[in-house]
């Protein structure tokens, strides 16, 4: 038998399996909620040049003042849009955490997440096989890596793996919802691992105002009284009333700009565990959190998912590239040249493999700031995309 015949013979699959594969499984629906949000986050990153929430000011002369990670720029009124890019990099162009993505620990599959600082690392659990797959050659790669506990987090859920000198969060890959909120508090020590510092007041899905909280201890005190809050399995759950949407960024949990939402009618909705989890904490607890947030929140600007800057690539050296934003400036004389170092493969691979070159219009995503004293060095640059100028501004091809 050859492959084409087996492909045909797949029609012998049981009807129930065929039907099931055409339906959207419940856990995937919940997962998609997360994906949709992340996509929104990515989209926000893409338009962030124009729409930095409160940081954007429309000017009388049809220009827009925006902040690139704290650096103010006055740009022409252009719509800057970009699509999500999904480049599958060859093995040698991947970062180590992109290469080795899967860990099997005690028979359970864990999947790689974000980098984690050494201060979170606890006891060593042992050395285990981590695997990766090279889609270009079809070859599976394996290496042995040290696996560690993360302080305060059950190793059944999240562990840290040492790869190439750094630590990375590996999260359990299955859908294993807890019975109640207490189980989550115990397994993840959320009061220590999840700071609730930034929140947005929402009416349904509409975001209203953004606030900062200096101290989240009281909120965790309230939440610690909700240990028996039941896990609600409701894939059709949607936002109706008012809610406080806390930005959930946690190194220990390996999440970045996820959501921890408290609704006025007494629910918690969060996507920090990959799947959408809902707990019913009750109106009373929610009211306490709302009151505390109202009294102690200080107005702030919206936190973008990621910063972006765009411009023309003017120079490529062995060490860095220069990007000039004159094409966007309301006054070209005010143009700035940004320096992005190539010591991160996430940037250099776009030059080496994707062939981005001098003269191209590019969009750089970054999570840090711009160090003007050091010569406009972009800190935390993590992605570079080729953009194209259109009538509406710059867009990135899919």
């Amino acid at each position: 038998m050859r492959g084409n015949e087996l492909l045909d013979k797949m029609e012998l699959v049981d009807a129930a399996y065929v039907e099931a594969a055409d339906a959207e499984p419940m856990d995937v629906k919940t997962k998609k909620k997360r994906a949709a949000w992340l996509k929104w986050g990515a989209a926000a990153a893409c338009v962030s040049l124009l729409a930095f929430g409160g940081m954007m000011t429309n000017r009388k002369d049809d220009s827009t003042r925006i902040s690139l990670g704290g650096t103010l720029r006055e740009y022409k009124n252009t719509n800057i849009t970009a699509s999500e890019l999904a480049i599958e990099w060859p093995w040698e162009y991947k970062t180590v955490s992109e290469q080795y993505t899967t860990l099997i620990l005690k028979g359970e599959e864990f999947y790689v997440g974000r980098a984690i600082g050494a201060s979170w690392i606890g006891d060593i659990l042992g050395s285990y096989d981590v695997a990766g797959y090279d889609t270009y050659t079809g070859q599976e790669h394996h290496m042995t890596a040290e696996v560690y506990r993360i302080a305060g987090i059950s190793e059944d859920n999240i562990v840290a793996v040492k790869l190439d000198g750094g630590f990375f969060v590996f999260r359990h890959n299955g859908y294993a919802p807890p019975a109640d909120f207490g189980e989550v508090l115990d397994d993840y020590t959320l009061e220590q691992t999840l700071p609730l510092e930034q929140f947005t007041v929402c009416e349904g899905y509409e975001e209203k105002d953004h606030f900062r909280l200096d101290d989240d201890a009281y909120i965790w005190e309230v939440l610690s009284t909700c240990r028996s809050a039941a896990f609600i399995k409701d894939d059709s759950w949607s936002e109706n009333g008012r809610s406080l949407s806390f930005t959930a960024t946690s190194e220990a949990l390996g999440v970045y700009n996820a959501v921890f939402r408290v609704t006025e009618d007494g629910y918690i909705w969060t996507n920090i565990f990959d799947y959408a989890y809902i707990f019913k904490i009750g109106r009373e607890a929610a009211e306490k959190i709302f009151s505390y947030a109202a009294e102690n929140g200080t107005e702030s600007e919206q936190e973008p998912y990621m910063f972006s800057l765009a411009g023309t690539l003017t120079e490529i050296t062995e060490e860095y590239i220069l990007v000039d934003d004159a094409i966007l400036c309301a006054d070209e004389k005010e143009a700035m040249t940004f320096k992005i170092y190539l010591d991160d493969i996430r940037i250099s691979r776009h030059i080496e493999f994707e062939g981005i070159t001098v003269g191209d219009v590019v969009i750089v995503s970054f999570t840090g700031s711009i160090d003007e004293e050091a010569g406009n060095v972009v800190k935390g640059a993590c992605s570079l995309s080729r953009g194209f100028l259109s009538e509406d501004g710059i867009s990135v091809p899919e």
Binding site: M1, R2, G3, N4, E5, L6, L7, D8, K9, M10, E11, L12, V13, D14, A15, A16, Y17, V18, E19, A20, A21, D22, E24, P25, D27, V28, K31, K32, R34, A35, A86, E88, E98, T101, T102, Y111, G132, Y133, T135, G138, E140
Partner: protein, 189 residues
């Protein structure tokens, strides 16, 4: 108008009422056309395949009475017709896609050769379904989206809200597991 129950639609076929095709089309037309389009990549051809599906269903019911699995029954016909159509019409330019899928499927065969399947369909069905039952629900669905519905990797990644690289890795493992399963169970295909 509310869609009819599958069993009532099957009754219409059994009663040789042409309304059977109308009701089938109302209930499943979009899904069947979309399944076919995913394979043939051409709207007009997909519509032809959909219509041919109704014709085949008309001829196959009776003797078949797929009351509890009408969609799967129809989809199997659509898949079969669409695959044949794809192979017969070079203008569809889908041969590269089919070659890719065939090459992937070949990795599941312990000792691929040019001899036609040595197993009858019933035994082969048992082998494939036995393997599928050993997979987790997500892996099984992912495997079927690729090799039954013939979805692209990107489409599967979107559907399951996972990365393309994870889809590829999972499929690679599933193929290896199927080969091992067939070897271990002594199936010679």
């Amino acid at each position: 108008m509310e869609a009819l129950d599958d069993s009532k639609i099957v009754e219409l076929y059994l009663g040789r009422s042409e309304a059977a095709i109308c009701r089938t089309s109302e209930k499943y037309g979009n899904r069947l056309r979309s399944l076919s389009y995913g394979i043939v990549g051409d709207r007009q051809t997909a519509e032809e395949c959909e219509n041919d599906t109704y014709m085949e269903a008309w001829n196959a019911i009776p003797p078949h009475e797929p009351r509890g699995y009408l969609y799967a029954f129809l989809a199997r016909i659509t898949r079969h017709i669409s695959l044949n159509c794809c192979r017969n019409r070079s203008r569809l330019k889908r041969s590269a896609f089919l070659c890719e899928l065939s090459a992937e499927m070949e990795q599941c065969i312990p000792a691929p050769d040019d001899v036609e399947s040595r197993m009858d369909d019933m035994a082969l069905s048992q082998a494939i379904n036995g393997f599928l039952s050993s997979l987790s629900e997500e892996k099984r669905n992912l495997f079927l989206r690729r090799y039954w519905y013939l979805d692209s990797i990107a489409c599967i990644a979107g559907r399951f809200a996972i990365s393309e690289s994870k889809v590829k890795t999972t499929l690679f493992r599933c193929r290896s597991q199927l080969r091992e399963y067939l070897e271990k169970e002594g199936y010679t295909i």
